[in-house]
Subunit: 212 residues, 2 copies
Amino acid sequence: MLHFTLDKILSLEKRYRASFINSVLGFKSLCLVGTKNTLGESNLAVFNSFFHLGAHPPLIGFIIRPDTVERNTLSNILETKKFTINHVTEAFYKKAHQTSARYPSDTSEFDEVGLKEELKEGFIAPFVKDSSIKIALQFREKIDIEINGTIMIIGEIQDIYLPEEILKKDGYVDLAEAGSLTNNGLDSYHKVEKLDRLSYAKTDKPLTSIEL
Amino acid sequence: MLHFTLDKILSLEKRYRASFINSVLGFKSLCLVGTKNTLGESNLAVFNSFFHLGAHPPLIGFIIRPDTVERNTLSNILETKKFTINHVTEAFYKKAHQTSARYPSDTSEFDEVGLKEELKEGFIAPFVKDSSIKIALQFREKIDIEINGTIMIIGEIQDIYLPEEILKKDGYVDLAEAGSLTNNGLDSYHKVEKLDRLSYAKTDKPLTSIEL
């Protein structure tokens, strides 16, 4: 086993450390965030920091680093209060990755990387046409994380679009069937294979597998 | 495509909605959090809401719901300021899931589910012996998320223990090689297969695959 202390981590070369710390925590949600500014210019950016906050109301959070290419996503969300989350599949993961290049603010990453925009009536933020699962969100809150200047955005789910066959009868969404990828660190893309679903854990009953 | 509006989501049966909203956002980091209280009693709980906050200093966040079995993890972290994050592999995912049962506060989930505790000198919080990757953390901040009463914990990485062969020469940790699982929703466990690693995205250069 290797052992890295905090001192050793802090002394690592900057890009090595970024890759190391970003990849050591576990697999992540990999989604594209679609926004527009008030001029109607679209932006699309890949993120992997989504987390579940609650189901009633349906709330999610994610982290933005305002000193990076992510700043356009932030300013658009604060301007229009709307954004979309779009799952990434094997068919277009390279295009998703390419959205992280530093394109000028007035160009659309949809055009630059070759992903088709999909608009839905009454919602300003654009969806990714080829995504398997698409979610429309209303901005609810911005929390400044002072310890390192990052920002947490809280969004409330307004609409969910997904293929019928991946939604199981108990509400479970089978993302392996949907072809959604996962991510590990800054630059890796992974396919996922279902191992098991387990029953609700009780102190006095053995676990069983859920087959739906 | 199915379409769920917010009204429809809010009208779903409670457990169906929890399963639906928890699983629709994407794959998650799946880790066990180990803590002790000041009496020396151990606690172990499975979480899937970890996110990267920064690499310098190395900071992570995760979400705790204080009205659930997760409350012991919260009170222990606030008492001792230390916790561990331990990756889950196929060898013991059922035991990891079983930690979510409501055991009495004074019993250790390590004992109840049959996972061996590992202590390291100078660090109060217990690690999971069989985990492939183990991280020691210092509590840094608690942020109350008022919109739904959840709590965000920020921890600073103090130590990382991992097998030498999964750490690549650019700092990337290959979690597929480590056998780390990912999670989708409340109860599903997934194996992961590497698809690709992509070069840093530039506006004027094609992407290439990284082979290390």
